[in-house]
């Protein structure tokens, strides 16, 4: 299963478009109880351009979610660089990283993570108001996103009355409401039945396409991997193109 040319295969086919995400030579290890460290991965290179849809698969424990966190500036790599929208994360302080994330990245999680005490419109509008937007335009944009994900007119509902699939639609709307150049999704369909998962995935990709966002999905699901334009496999040695099953 060892790929021959990991970095070459991880590179995009067309390098002409400006890179939304560029990671180079990322390495990460975790401390063990005995004081030693276990290497998760090393030599990870990854470039995403606008409109890209990339899926990353790999065995459990290889560090897929950790890689995602590093790409989002939520975790620091042992080595390597991450550049988002032309800005290197390494030199930024916490506030600047947060601001960059707020502006440039949308998130979709496996466990939907919506705030239970805010209604749907406000949940979706959160990235906008966190970036300093006024209330009225933020809520308008949120309602427009609700229409797009098929939950039109339900902006006043609270998350408690929604099903899992509906919650993930809200999460997708929230990830895209501020039109981020990059969407990071961690097992976005992990908590959903196959039929709902397929529809949610279609929605995510269509919405991202409409917003012009690049999408990076970390997943175990072959169904999800198959829907991506490129599928990479993460191992201890880095990223390599996955062979179709």
């Amino acid at each position: 299963m060892r790929p021959d040319l990991p970095s070459a295969t991880a590179a995009p086919a067309a390098i002409t478009a400006p890179a939304v995400l560029a990671a180079h030579a990322l390495a990460k290890s975790v401390p063990l109880a005995n004081g030693q460290r276990r290497a998760l991965f090393a030599g990870v290179d990854l470039v995403l351009t606008a409109g890209d849809v990339v899926a990353i698969t790999g065995e459990s424990g290889v560090g897929k979610s950790t890689l995602l966190n590093i790409l989002a500036g939520l975790d620091a790599p042992d080595a390597g660089t991450v550049i988002i929208n032309g800005q290197a994360i390494a030199g930024l302080d916490e506030a600047a990283t947060t601001a960059l994330r707020c502006r440039a990245i949308g998130f979709v999680f496996q466990a939907f993570h919506v705030l239970p005490h805010l209604d749907l419109a406000r949940n979706i509008a959160l990235p906008l108001v966190l970036a300093g937007s006024a209330q009225a335009p933020a809520l308008d944009a949120a309602r427009a996103m609700l229409d797009r994900v098929g939950l039109g007119g339900r902006g006043g509902d609270h998350p408690a009355v929604l099903s899992g699939g509906e919650l993930q639609r809200v999460a997708i709307a929230r990830a895209l409401v501020h039109r981020p150049p990059l969407v990071l999704a961690d097992e976005p369909t992990g908590n959903l039945d196959p039929e709902t998962a397929r529809r949610i995935l279609d929605l995510l990709l269509a919405s991202a396409d409409a917003a012009g966002s690049a999408v990076l999905i970390v997943t175990h699901s072959e169904q999800v991997a198959a829907a991506a334009r490129r599928t990479l496999r993460l191992s201890n040695d880095g990223l390599a193109a996955a062979r179709p099953a």
Binding site: S65, N69, A72, L74, D75, E94, A95, A96, T98, A99, R101, C102, R103, F107, F109, A111, F112, H113, V114, L115, P116, H117, L118, R122, L126, P127, V129, L130, A131, G132, S133, A134, Q135, A138, P159, L167, R174
Partner: protein, 852 residues
């Protein structure tokens, strides 16, 4: 965004208040109660002090300076012309001043009074006009004390407005009253010009006063008006140089400080208690915010991922604390004013403490103080929010989003050193000497001890539970409960801190009051050895004459009569007067130190009270000078006795010596030993019949049992406010326990759902929660009681002697302490079960699926 966007802040706040209105409400209430108590105590104190000071100033007539006799028997009037001639003195007004009363005086715990006390002044109208114009009488219909000179008419009296109100007498009516043991009846000529609204005061002509009151050649006071531009310090020094031994200069500032000194310690102690309530409120905010933060950790993580910076998060949480604080402060100030109003109406300005007799308190609304106490509440709420906010900001969002990183790690040992450092610093401060004559450092030490005890809780809980955790239990709910408590002491410590803090304060107060009460009771038994007591109220200027004394002693059934002459004597300007008690034979007083040798020749042996020794530095064996009867008398301090009745000191000297030195043969108090078989009631009636009619209204008879009962009643009443504050602190503590428990249980819903999925029954979970609660309650009660006993020692052995200058023996109210511990354990277990039922009601499936 670096800073928090306003719209986002508003949404998040509104959501949080909607999600937990009860929890927020209780936190607001906790702050409000603290602020309200502090503000109310301050308002009542300043109202009482203000009105007392104004009443004092009225009696003084607002002279620039006054020369006062140190004893109520007065000074030689020859001092007056000497003072009037001194350079710098523009005018001098001689004054006779005696305590007087009308009708039947109130007896503690007895029938309603029909009379009252007042101050009777004798002035020379023509002199007073220049020095104390407020003490000039005015009559309706142009009949003024000055113009038409009715002041020279005999048999008339001028009343202050408050005295006229109290007696209900109109102009022309006859005022019957008793002064210096004599019955008097004078016609009311009018009211005093400007004597204020608060003082009960009457003025007659000075010559008449000296004649009627047996004060020929005597003055109690000379009021002075200083010349324009005179050097006050130099004039005061010149005056002091010509004064006899039994007179001293009294400045208005000195009088004000005397009024302040009267109740200062009492007020400071009440204020500190109020701050304790506020501190408990702060703990509650901290506990509410900590739990709310712990519960919302994944939400904060999501917000961090979405673009809320750490500073933004801290700001958000501080805004929450600020809102809690503002709401609590505003509510507290409003509540405090209402509370103070209620208290002044029902208990008087001294809240039952008995410091400001005869002054009517008036409540104001001091904006600055309101702001100050509000700000204190706000600061408490912010401080309570800051720690949880900073801890929330430290958690990495990626971890928190996965539900990890919430601090529960059984392998991590909670540190003990912060608690130990605080405890030792607290102990050091508690042992420090008084600051400005007040136990301020001891109070700060107590706060540190409290904080240290709370900080030590996680480590202590772990140490206490370690043997249990190692042994484990075959009973599943118990095993789960022990492991949870042992493994997550930090989480438990939030709930524990509330229990520990409120228990410790409660125990400290209870032990202090119990010790004090027991000591007072023992003392009462010791100082009341006779069968029957007689006391004359408002009789400082003179009581029962020798002829009447002999008649009293001869009443059938009386085996022995011990006479006493009690009066107040001023030893230092600016200090409250000391009680001088001339007793026939040394009465039984509980001595705590005495001299072995006989008094040196020419010295009068005296006993001094504990406060006297503390305030004036007198010690057993000292030779001192005492100004009695117009000259310095050498005295020898033969012993110190414990006295809870006179906080500002008392001196006992033999009656024979007193009579020899002063020539004053009257008496104000007597103790009667009854013949065997004599009926106390019958003897009392016979004694009352032998009393001269003039003093019957002032006479109070008491039997030891009844006097003890009344004294303890007064004690309980003056501690009523303390009890109330204590009850509120307990209530806040218990509410804190309840809220923190229920919040913790709700935060663990997923854990319960999982346990039910793996086959633990709902009933077993409830038992587990009850055991956890009981365990926490037990650890909290044990630590709280231990800490409380330490604080009680500080209160009993340091704060009380430093405040009130008396000592007491430690007494532990064991039944109360045991009941308290049981109540805490039951409350903690009960709350945990109630919260558990609520949490488990939703069912295990929902609990596991719950997003947060």
């Amino acid at each position: 965004m670096t800073m928090l966007a306003p719209v986002a802040a508003r949404w998040l706040l509104a959501g949080e208040w909607r999600a937990g209105p009860l929890r927020m409400g209780i936190a607001v209430l906790a702050i409000a109660v603290g602020v309200a108590l502090g503000f109310a105590v301050h308002l009542v104190n300043s109202a009482a002090l203000g009105s007392f000071g104004r009443a004092m100033a009225s009696v003084q007539g607002r002279a620039d300076l006054a020369v006062r006799a140190t004893m109520p028997t007065g000074m030689d009037e020859l001092i007056y012309p000497r003072l009037a001639r001194l350079p710098g003195v523009a005018a001098a007004s001689p004054v006779v001043e005696v305590a007087a009363s009308w009708g039947q005086l109130a007896r503690p715990g007895a029938a309603p009074r029909t009379g009252g006390r007042f101050t009777l002044l004798g002035t020379d109208v023509l002199r007073a006009m220049h020095v104390t114009p407020g003490l000039i009488g005015f009559s309706p219909g142009g009949l003024s004390g000055v113009g038409t000179r009715p002041g020279w008419q005999e048999g008339i009296i001028w009343l202050s407005p408050e005295l006229a109100r109290a007696t209900g007498l109109k102009v022309g009516a006859t005022f019957r009253f008793t002064a210096a043991g004599r019955p008097l009846a004078l016609r009311v000529a009018g009211q005093l010009a400007a004597s204020g609204d608060e003082a009960r005061l009457a003025v007659i002509d000075i010559a008449e006063a000296q004649d009627l009151l047996g004060q020929i050649g005597r003055l109690q006071r000379v009021d002075l008006k200083l010349a324009e531009g005179a050097d006050v310090a130099a004039t005061t020094a010149r005056i002091a140089a010509v004064l006899p031994a039994d007179a001293m200069v009294a400045t208005p500032e000195g009088e004000a400080s005397r009024a302040d000194a009267l109740s200062r310690a009492y007020r400071v102690n009440l204020g500190m208690l109020a701050l304790v309530a506020l501190l408990t409120g702060g703990f509650l905010v901290w506990s509410a915010q900590s739990l709310s933060v712990a519960r919302r950790r994944p939400q904060f993580a999501l917000l961090a991922v979405l673009g809320l910076s750490r500073r933004g998060l801290v700001t958000q949480l501080l805004i929450e604390g600020l809102l809690l604080g503002v709401a609590g402060a505003v509510l507290g100030v409003v509540l405090g004013h209402a509370l103070a109003d209620l208290a002044v109406r029902n208990f008087g300005g001294d809240l039952g403490g008995g410091y400001f007799a005869g002054a009517q308190a008036r409540l104001a609304f001091p904006a600055l103080a309101a702001l100050g106490f509000g700000a204190l509440g706000l600061a408490t709420a912010l401080a309570g929010s800051l720690v949880p906010a900073l801890s929330a900001a430290r958690v990495p969002p990626a971890l928190a989003l996965k539900g990890l990183g919430d601090g529960v790690d059984p392998t991590r040992r909670p540190p003990a050193w912060p608690g130990l450092v605080l405890l030792s610093a607290g102990t050091g401060l508690a042992l420090a000497p008084p600051l400005f004559g007040l136990p301020i450092l001891a109070y700060i030490g107590m706060a540190l001890l409290l904080a240290g005890g709370v900080a030590l809780m996680p480590a202590l809980a772990r140490a206490l539970l370690a043997p249990l955790a190692q042994a484990g239990s075959r009973y599943l709910p118990l095993d789960l409960a022990i492991r949870r408590l042992w493994g997550a002491p930090q989480a438990a410590s939030v709930a524990l801190s509330g229990i520990v803090a409120s228990t410790a304060l409660m125990v400290a107060m209870a032990v202090m009051v119990a010790s004090f009460r027991q000591s007072v009771d023992d003392w009462l038994v010791a100082v009341l050895p006779s069968d029957l007591y007689l006391h004359l109220e408002a009789a400082e200027a003179g009581g029962i004459t020798p002829a009447d004394q002999a008649r009293l002693a001869a009443v059938p059934g009386v085996a022995a009569a011990r006479l006493q002459r009690v009066m107040s004597i001023r030893l230092q300007p600016g200090q409250p007067a000391v009680a001088l008690m001339a007793q026939g034979g040394f009465a039984a007083v509980p001595l705590i130190g005495h001299s072995a040798g006989a008094p040196p020749a020419g010295h009068v042996p005296v006993l001094i009270s504990e406060p006297m020794a503390w305030l004036y530095g007198w010690q057993v064996g000292d030779r001192r000078q005492l100004a009695i009867g117009g000259r310095q008398t050498p005295v020898f301090v033969a012993g110190v006795w414990r006295d809870y009745a006179r906080q500002f000191g008392a001196i006992i000297l033999p009656l024979a010596d007193y009579r020899r030195i002063t020539g004053d043969l009257s008496m104000t108090d007597a103790a009667f030993d009854l013949a065997p078989g004599a009926d106390a009631k019958a003897v009392q009636a016979a004694l009352a019949a032998q009393l001269p009619p003039a003093v019957r209204g002032q006479a109070q008879f008491g039997r030891p049992g009844e006097m003890r009962r009344v004294a303890l009643q007064i004690f309980d009443r003056s501690f009523a406010v303390t009890y109330a504050l204590e009850a509120i602190a307990i209530l806040i503590g218990l509410v804190g326990v309840a809220t923190s428990f229920s919040a913790q249980v709700l935060a663990r819903m997923r854990e319960f759902g999982m346990l039910r999925h793996v086959g633990v029954q709902k009933r077993q979970l409830l038992v587990m929660l009850a055991l956890e609660g009981a365990g926490l309650g037990l650890v909290g009660a044990a630590a709280g009681i231990a800490l409380g006993l330490g604080l009680a020692l500080v209160l009993v052995d340091i704060v009380n002697p430093q405040s009130f200058h008396w000592t007491m023996d430690l007494a532990l109210p064991w039944p109360l302490l045991a009941g308290l511990a049981a109540a805490l354990v039951a409350c903690a277990a009960g709350t945990a079960v109630v919260a558990g039922r609520r949490a488990l009601g939703a069912g295990p499936v929902l609990a596991v699926r719950a997003d947060w």
